[in-house]
């Protein structure tokens, strides 16, 4: 979805881009079990998560996603501006 909004990529191109950036196959990025592990390991945030201290959610997850996909996320950029870290 992010690649569609920010880069105007159509679905096939967007999936391939994400798969390449994450070092996964197309099948893997469409698989809920694989992606749950990847998202947890890489701090991308999960739809559901046990409340433990290491869980990433919201803004911190978006920092990680922007970095992994090599894209700008507007809310991350505005957060950095306001927090004085940009």
């Amino acid at each position: 979805m992010r690649m569609q909004i920010s880069q105007k990529m159509r679905i096939k191109e967007a999936k391939q881009y994400v798969a390449d950036k994450l070092g996964l196959t197309l099948e893997e990025i469409c698989d809920v079990v694989t992606m749950s592990e990847v998202r947890e390991d890489r701090g991308f945030g999960l739809g559901n998560f046990e409340p433990y201290a290491e869980s990433n959610v919201g803004m911190e997850a978006k920092f990680k996603i922007a970095e992994a996909l090599g894209i700008k996320i507007n809310s991350v950029e505005r957060f950095k501006e306001r927090a004085g870290i940009k």
């Binding site: 569609q4 105007k8 679905i11 945030g45």
Partner: protein
Amino acid sequence: MTDSKKYFTRMGDGSIVYMTEEEIRADILAGVKDAADRGKIPPLTQDEMDHIYSIVTMPGGVVGVEPSRAIVTSNDSGSDKISTKCGIPVERSVNAMIHERVLGADSVDIGLEDYNYKTVKGVAKREAAVLKNALNKTTMPLFYGAMPNLGFYTKPDGPVDNWAVLLPEGKIKEALAAQEEAVEHAVKDIVYVAEQMYDVGADGFQLDTSGAAGDADFLVSLLATEIIKEKFPDMGVEIGMAGEFVLGMHGRLKYRDVKLAGLYPHQQVKLVEQAGASIFGAVVNTNCNMTFPWNIARVCTFLKACSEVATIPVHANVGMGVCGIPMCENLPSEIVSRADRCLIEICNLDGL
């Protein structure tokens, strides 16, 4: 003589109907022909019509695509639906979290109950605060959304004369001028709201139900998108349509030398691309008096043509009364999932 097997399906208003193979195939062909004639676009192939037949008649309450063909979802007034439609009093940023973590949505928009930009303008900074809260707590992309809704700019509620009153009185010049003036007001309001939403970090900006008041309404979305993309290139814009056909309430308005009245989805999307939008929300109307096979075949003919010429993602509007979905409040999942599968497998759409 034996009775032919009859399959359960529905009319466009949601009522149940049983049809034979012959009747279903005849309706699919008629739906395809209707779209091809109106849109002056190629009909579906026989293989594609056979595929629609197989999806319409396949067993199961819910049907689906292969996991690798899954696509994403965007929506309109999504973050308000739990509150407004279900009557559960949930604050909108919490509503967005529920969409992300309970419903598995790929995105959602924050929008006011009175879902139009003229109303939002007065409370735009407060709306932006709700969006900011939601952005801090969610991971998926969030839009701010509302409708251009040009009719709201007419007297007595708005600043310009009502063209729907002027036209029957024969005051053609005045009616055209009123619409042109309303366009200027609406574009200004939308860009103002967009600025507030960009400032808090919106991923996207949704111009929903564009063209609801006709060609001038669609022009508002195109002009506003152009300005928004120039001022805030990091924020995507999704233009969702009101109907399959741009009504010529003005009739002479053009965008980049293309007359807007009468455009179908495969033509609308090219202007949406030129304006700089990221996603096109295509609509094909559901005919309540016709069957689901007729409606979905017609939808697929229009949206296959749209998807083939598009260079940006196309999301089909698959809510009540559009893109094959029946015109009823509680949607039957066996029809919704069949419509979705047809759209993904035949039209190669990018989202719903």
